[in-house]
Symmetry: C2
Amino acid sequence: MPRHADDRSATRAPARLSRETIVAAAIGLADRDGLAGLSMRRLAQHLGVDAMSIYYHLRDKDTLLAAMVDAVAAEIEVDGEIEAATLGGGGTGAAAVGGGGTGVAAVGGGGARAGGEAAAGSGPAGAGAPGPWTDQLRALIMRARRTMLRHPWAARVLEARDTPTPAVLRHIERVLAVLRGGGCSVSLSHHALHLLGSRILGFSQDLFDDSPNTPATEAETAAQAAAWAESMPHIAELAVAVSHSGALGGCDDEDEFAFALDLLIEGLDRRRLAEQG
Amino acid sequence: MPRHADDRSATRAPARLSRETIVAAAIGLADRDGLAGLSMRRLAQHLGVDAMSIYYHLRDKDTLLAAMVDAVAAEIEVDGEIEAATLGGGGTGAAAVGGGGTGVAAVGGGGARAGGEAAAGSGPAGAGAPGPWTDQLRALIMRARRTMLRHPWAARVLEARDTPTPAVLRHIERVLAVLRGGGCSVSLSHHALHLLGSRILGFSQDLFDDSPNTPATEAETAAQAAAWAESMPHIAELAVAVSHSGALGGCDDEDEFAFALDLLIEGLDRRRLAEQG
DNA sequence: CGGTGTAGGTCTACACCGTAGAGTACGTCC
DNA sequence: GGACGTACTCTACGGTGTAGACCTACACCG
């Protein structure tokens, strides 16, 4: 290692790559030219460096892509802090739309009871904004969406990958924290996660398969859960529940899809009635 | 041109390619080896033919991929006919799941009123099964899902494309027919389509952008709508409504997302209450 | 019959891709 | 001075999609 960490440009050092600069440049390139325009050679050229130099810092192109989505997912958190610092609370402009119901609160059947018991725990990884959990969830997801819209390629890469990156995992943890904090059971939170992550209309599978792809022993799962217990408590909780196949009935893809579909159709029918009545 | 159109196999023709055989082989290859395993050379080898021969029948690899998804989407219709022939009606096993509500009918707020006025019109492109529109929609989407699951690569290709193929369009038409037949307004149907086609959790955009990507004149749109009027009446209807920006307020991505998100969150909150109560 | 047009398929070649593997310059430490 | 690790470069290989010229067999026509 060099003695003083940051003496770039000292002699005639040609570029001074680093994992971070590479990833940042790659993101910039992908933002400009799309995923198709991102090749190792073009990226290297962009950095004023030989293509193979990149491979010293990142094993693969796949590793690069993973690092890129991770960086983007990490932006969600930063955006959140900024938002929390500048604004007071929630209110993201997800209000009235089209024909039927407007917000979550005043719609269909039983009048306006939305939040329930509000955020009781607010937990270790709790999201910033106060207010009913429904508003918190909406704000969190809207923030994620806004971040992803700045990097249109990111969604595609994310979908293509089969394992979530750390920052994505943290985002999921935050979503779970809101759900659990809002009074949703572990089981319902689990369904919710699948629901939020899967596309409907009959196309497409789930975003990630949390079913035991690596058929870990129950002991292993428990060990991992313990390791995550303080950093990602809600994910750990869910992982344990899912692995005890008895408790949640495992994690059947078909059931998850049906759950999501039922929920959507029910919501549509409710909107229809509100529209007509 | 040849005199009699269909005298293939006459002499010793080496392979007798055709667009259909190529597409079928490509689908088979993709089913076996995944999208990554599908290269023009490998496909040609599989067909016992030079790679460039394929280009006589299909302009591009992109054209090939489009033809592949179109063929898969067309399977949905065939499956539907088979189903309609063998079984009587609906009932696709999308019943009880996990903690909260079960089907559409008996859930949350106001008791069991689901179908409403049932299928009044049933229209030209009407779906087979009778029963409440909610059941029809569920059956239709489940059928699509089952087809897509047989070709795991298809969803990815479909998402990557930005224009729907004819068979996909027909599927959408069928979905719209059910919605409209069930009493949903054009506006609500429009929202529903976006809802069903877009992924939530903050990632990803819509499946297709129906906003005027080709900024056609209103006259053009009307002309196209007229041309489609009998083959795809509901899509035509919707297209006209959307193009009259006043009527539906155009088609704002943000609004569509908010609509979907609200509907989901409302549904989750309802499940939560049902669970606790 | 020979000539011609053309549908269907092949061959060659090009630019680009990811990346293995060897080689090179340099700073640090014994 | 020599060994060593770090950061980077060079060369090369096997793959990709596809443009463009080429070939071949057959249908047609005078």
